[in-house]
Chain length 325, copies 2
């Protein structure tokens, strides 16, 4: 292994392309590959090193002991994992897919020898494909790194290092914790935006002519590409069903209260409080934290940091340096 | 009546304050009054003519045959209507309340002699009170003017003139049509934002740490003052219940489809289509329209314009000049 581990990015869309750009900008040896000939051509003409195919890129990763980054939509993951098992079966492996437990399951099944530590950068954009990728996409963003009791600290550190090199901060969480959290704050928002857009448009031209900021904001993500939204939401089915049930319960309670007493007091007050907690979580004073990655219970300590809203912002001499509110 | 009709604004919060500022900026004789001593003091120190009380302002309106603008929250409307009946019973009266049928009912009951034509500017801001008011708040905004078969064309024109003087365009609609439309595109967004904020915050610090653009956009209006959101939503109860039932039906269908087949296809596709219709409604090519306000069926023609997503942008020689997509 080189002093700085190389990075092999499979998939060159918005996220994969931005990972490749960021890794190169951080001075890491890095190359990419993708099934999309459009993305491949665009990445090459932008001057990035793109291998002739995913198999070639993975064989090079095996030779150079690179960190392989799966940056394909969830439905394409099994096919790429088959290629990993064929060409780089023991590689250090991470991913940037928006759901973690299903990817971990697929890795156990299809690439069981890979040294896998999952990841998920919480960044996106209205556009997609290499053309939308930037080296700044992850600046200031949260990047979840899978943190299970059995996670190898060396692998964890390598994935965290990539996230930090991309300008993100690391939020440690177990796969199930991650999936439950993003169902609430990322996938449910897409379903509610779709429902709102449909109810608004069903009001016809008059309703749309009267739509102002609240409707525009509430429906913005309904403008995202449907196939990407579906892949993301449907891939997190179990956790999203729980979040949908909670939303249905709260919306039904609002309906019942408005019908029976004329009041939306509890609904509106609770929502206002939730929004205040969001604002507070982003502005809270933070105290520094240092976690020795080689100590017993390091993964549990990291998960505890994430559960309290904390983050890792640097790595130093075998320790994760972070802060918590 | 003067060549330019004077404007008397009752209530000097965000909307009323902005109406007074806009009317003065348009060169109209105008004065205000409010129950809030904070708003009154702020408006006076900004140099605007503020009467000693609502009763004084209304008596002056009766003397000068001014257009009286009710700019108070729905719960305060009955009290101001009592004052109208006492001090300016025959005045030309409009309002800027976010729901129209309940205000029209209250006027019929409490100020039956007033020449009332309701209105609703579709503009707002995160902040409230005179301090947040500006002369530009309504620039480019839709301003609904009540357009019933029995509406007096002269009164309609006076209210439309005020909206145009404030920089808005006029969307003609019957009160019930307005209330159904804003339940879909203005009140439902507030309820969904509150539900989303609650479900997100219930995920604890980890969920809030992972919240990105979709959650921030989807919960933005949950940051609005709860008492104002409640007054707006609860005041439109019947129409909002219909919109809530439609949202519950669509959300329940999404839940059922995800659970049974794993697909959110219809939900996400329908939402994407709705969002596209919103974008198209704002960019459509428009053809000019001219409606003679003194012709029989003028109100029906105006409502038809609004129902097709059209608007009135000027008044000229007894005609409404507009455009439709």
């Amino acid at each position: 292994m080189a002093a700085v581990r190389a990075v092999c990015v499979v998939g060159l869309g918005l996220i994969g392309g931005s990972v490749l750009r960021s890794a190169v900008a951080a001075g890491r040896p890095a190359w990419g590959a993708a099934a999309s000939s459009i993305d491949v051509a665009a990445a090459r003409s932008a001057g990035y090193p793109i291998e002739a195919g995913v198999d070639v890129a993975l064989r090079r990763a095996a030779e150079e002991d690179a960190l392989v980054v799966l940056a394909v939509p969830l439905p394409a993951v099994p096919q790429v994992l088959d290629a990993v098992t064929e060409h780089a079966p023991d590689c250090l492996l991470t991913d940037v897919v928006s759901v973690k437990a299903p990817v971990a399951d697929a890795v156990r099944r299809l690439a069981p020898r890979a040294r896998y530590v999952g990841g998920h950068p919480m960044a996106g954009a209205a556009s997609s494909g290499w053309a939308a990728s930037t080296a700044e996409l992850f600046h200031g963003a949260a990047w979840v790194v899978d943190t299970e009791d059995g996670t190898d600290p060396d692998g964890w550190r390598e994935v965290a290092r990539l996230a930090l090199d991309c300008g993100a901060h690391v939020v440690p969480a177990a796969a199930e914790e991650h999936d439950a959290a993003v169902a609430r704050v990322s996938h449910l928002p897409h379903v509610l935006a779709a429902v709102l857009a449909s109810v608004g448009a069903a009001g016809g031209p008059l309703a749309l002519a009267l739509a102002a900021g609240s409707f525009r904001d509430g429906t913005r993500v309904a403008g995202s590409r449907p196939e990407l939204v579906r892949a993301m939401c449907e891939g997190n089915r179990d956790a999203l069903l729980d979040a949908l049930d909670e939303a249905l319960g709260r919306l039904g309670a609002a309906r019942g209260s408005l019908a029976s007493t004329g009041s939306l007091g509890k609904t509106i007050e609770d929502g206002h409080q939730g929004r205040r907690e969001l604002a507070e979580s982003q502005t809270a004073a933070r105290t520094p934290v240092r976690i020795d990655l080689s100590a017993p219970g390091a993964m549990e300590a990291l998960r505890g940091l994430g559960a309290r809203g904390g983050r890792v912002t640097a790595l130093d001499a075998g320790c994760a340096i972070g802060e918590v509110g």
